[in-house]
């Protein structure tokens, strides 16, 4: 630098040919958030992989006999206890001599039903609380947000443990789903509230009010539909969390009774013979993990697709 008196300038060569011009394609359908997101997602192999997993698990939950003809809990021979794979029983046998593959297939139903119902409960409560708090503001916001803080301050699996211990006589899919969803909604409510606060500022909300639509009507017709994107992401991710919660509660012994087939119950029962027959534990664990993984991947893909900033960060 010090001795140099001359500087060299580099100039990029100019290419001959036409210069690209932005063209407005009037004939094409106008783009929107959902169309962009869909276009983004369907190009990603991960999306299709997780969709296939989710579909297979759903099919298992609805029609387990499509996958296995072996009865999962009758016909168990104690002579097969902890047995390895045999003809017609590809994954071997549990301690009770039941077919591991059949039990894993049938276990999907509990996870999926509890997970779905708990998520629906949590999302609906979260949507209502978050939307009202964010849209109306003022004392209602203060009240609902404090209620949300209270629920947020109790780890929801622990809350569900209390609920299921207290209502030990009434254990079924719905109480379990209520125990999980009834305490897991607070984080959903926070997300919805933040989004509604953002959307509330939009011009179309003012336009809707100026055109004479009531506040509540505006909230239902314009604000919520435009605030739904983050809710979709949270819902997918909480489905994964609810499935884990169900399995954890079953494992702790406060899920559905031990006669109900569920991955959590099977894992819990298999731990007693872990040293001699680890496979009875490993296969339901794999099923559980893959299902949760599929929902988490789906949730993250949807989040990335719906958030242009996240898309840029990839």
């Amino acid at each position: 630098m010090s001795g140099d008196t001359s500087a060299t300038h580099y100039v990029a060569p100019i290419k001959d040919g036409t210069i690209a011009v932005d063209v407005v394609k009037i004939a094409e359908k106008p783009s929107n958030l959902w169309r962009d997101a869909w276009a983004d997602m369907r190009r990603r192999p991960m999306f299709w992989i997780s969709m296939v997993i989710v579909l297979v698990v759903l099919l298992m939950a609805l029609w387990p006999t499509l996958f296995t003809q072996t009865p999962p809990n009758s016909n168990c021979q104690l002579s097969d206890s902890n047995g390895g794979p045999a003809a017609g029983h590809p994954l071997g046998f549990t301690f009770q001599g039941c077919d591991i593959y059949a039990r894993t297939v049938w276990g999907a139903r509990t996870s999926v039903s509890v997970g779905l119902i708990a998520t629906i409960i949590g999302s609906v409560i979260g949507l209502i609380m978050g939307a009202l708090a964010g849209f109306y503001g003022g004392w209602l916001d203060g009240l609902l947000s404090r209620v949300g803080d209270i629920f947020f301050s109790i780890p929801y699996i622990l809350a569900a443990v209390v609920v299921m211990s207290v209502f030990a006589q009434f254990r079924n899919v719905f109480t379990l789903a209520f125990a999980i969803g009834g305490f897991a909604w607070a984080s959903t409510a926070r997300v919805v509230r933040a989004e509604v606060l953002r959307v509330r500022q939009a011009d179309f909300v003012m336009a809707s009010r100026a055109l004479g639509k009531s506040r509540f009507g505006t909230l239902i017709a314009h604000v919520i539909p435009n605030a739904i994107a983050p809710l979709l992401v949270v819902t997918t991710l909480s489905l994964a969390a609810a499935i884990v919660a169900e399995a954890t509660l079953s494992f702790l012994g406060v899920g559905l009774g031990s006669d109900t087939m569920s991955w959590g119950n099977d894992i819990s029962q298999a731990q007693q013979s872990l040293r001699v027959a680890p496979m009875a534990l490993i296969y339901p664990s794999i099923a559980l993990t893959i299902t949760v993984l599929a929902f988490i991947m789906l949730g993250e893909l949807v989040r990335d697709a719906l958030d242009p900033r996240a898309r840029a960060r990839r």
Partner: protein
């Protein structure tokens, strides 16, 4: 800063009252006669029954009963377990054990999360980054009891690197396996946050300024980037503390560590409703306090937080 602390303390009070009220209400709604449950198959005499009802204030309305319970908590009386032991005594014996486990687990979690998260961010989109992202997804999807059993089977039973259970001797050195399990179950979320945070920080103006001042990478990354990227990871660890508490319950149960979590785990398994409620309350109180402390640290770390609102 004093104002900020006072404000946060005031905000905690309704949350604390609401949370204990909620749990207490659940217990109040519990079907069955709690006094009859105390006697099992035997029938208590009418006088004894009435005396016990009066002793436990069961003849009072809900809100009065709750008041006795709440003032009990503030006097430091957490109730008694199903077997009649005072919850305070149990806590005195078990909290240090759980504390050791939690400190080790958080140490493992943060070390892994900060190192792997930073390297992933610096190699964004490369093979290392993608591998680590996939691994972290798997760890997020693995429920903690599955991690615990897999570790117990492969590392303790097969390879015999660790003892499969902990038991009565539970010094720092004995807790490696459960601490690794608990740390791994927490690490994935923190690592992904760290990665995202470092990527965001790398794009900040002050990092460009630091580089253009001629500072070397080995100074810019630790001093300018890491320090500023840590805040989201630390705040998340407060919200994540609930996951830690549930994780500690499961881990201590599986590895037979005599901590608070194990007490809760055994109470759940033995269907001792009242003990479950006492210890869940303890966990909720710990959770609320930890969040309060982290919030204050957060205010200390980042002056901007104190002046908002």
């Amino acid at each position: 800063m004093v104002g900020y602390i006072l404000k946060r303390l005031l905000q905690v009070i309704p949350v604390f009252i609401g949370a204990t009220l909620l749990i207490y209400f659940l217990v109040f709604a519990m079907p069955g006669d709690p006094i009859a449950a105390l006697f099992g198959d035997k029938q208590p005499s009418k006088q004894l029954h009435d005396a016990l009802v009066a002793q436990y204030h069961l003849d009072q309305p809900f809100i009065v009963q709750y008041w006795y319970y709440l003032t009990g908590i503030f006097r430091g009386d957490m109730g008694t377990t199903f077997s009649g032991r005072s919850v305070n005594d149990v806590l005195a014996a078990t909290l240090p054990v759980t504390g050791r486990l939690a400190v080790m687990a958080i140490g493992i979690e943060f070390t892994l999360a900060i190192i792997i998260g930073t390297f992933s961010a610096l190699r964004k989109g490369k093979i290392f980054d993608n591998t680590m992202l996939v691994i972290s997804l798997v760890f997020i999807s693995l429920p903690i009891f599955v991690i615990a059993f897999l570790a117990q089977y492969f590392l303790a039973v097969k390879l015999q690197w660790f003892s499969p259970t902990v038991g009565a001797t539970n010094d720092w050195g004995d807790m490696w396996l459960p601490a690794i399990v608990l740390g791994l179950s927490l690490y994935a979320v923190s690592m992904r946050l760290m990665r995202g945070s470092v990527i965001d920080t790398l794009n900040q103006d002050w990092v460009r300024t630091a580089y253009s001042k001629g500072l070397p990478r080995r100074r810019v990354i630790p001093v300018h980037v890491l320090r500023n990227s840590l805040i989201p990871v630390i705040t998340n660890s407060a919200t994540n503390f609930g996951v830690l508490l549930v994780g500690a319950t499961v881990t201590e149960g599986i590895f037979n560590i005599p901590g608070v979590g194990n007490t809760l785990f055994q109470a759940i398994r033995q269907h001792e409703g009242s003990t479950v409620v006492s210890f869940v309350t303890v966990f909720v109180i710990i959770y609320v306090l930890v969040n309060l402390v982290v919030d204050m640290l957060y205010g200390l770390l980042d002056p901007r937080i104190r002046y908002v609102r």
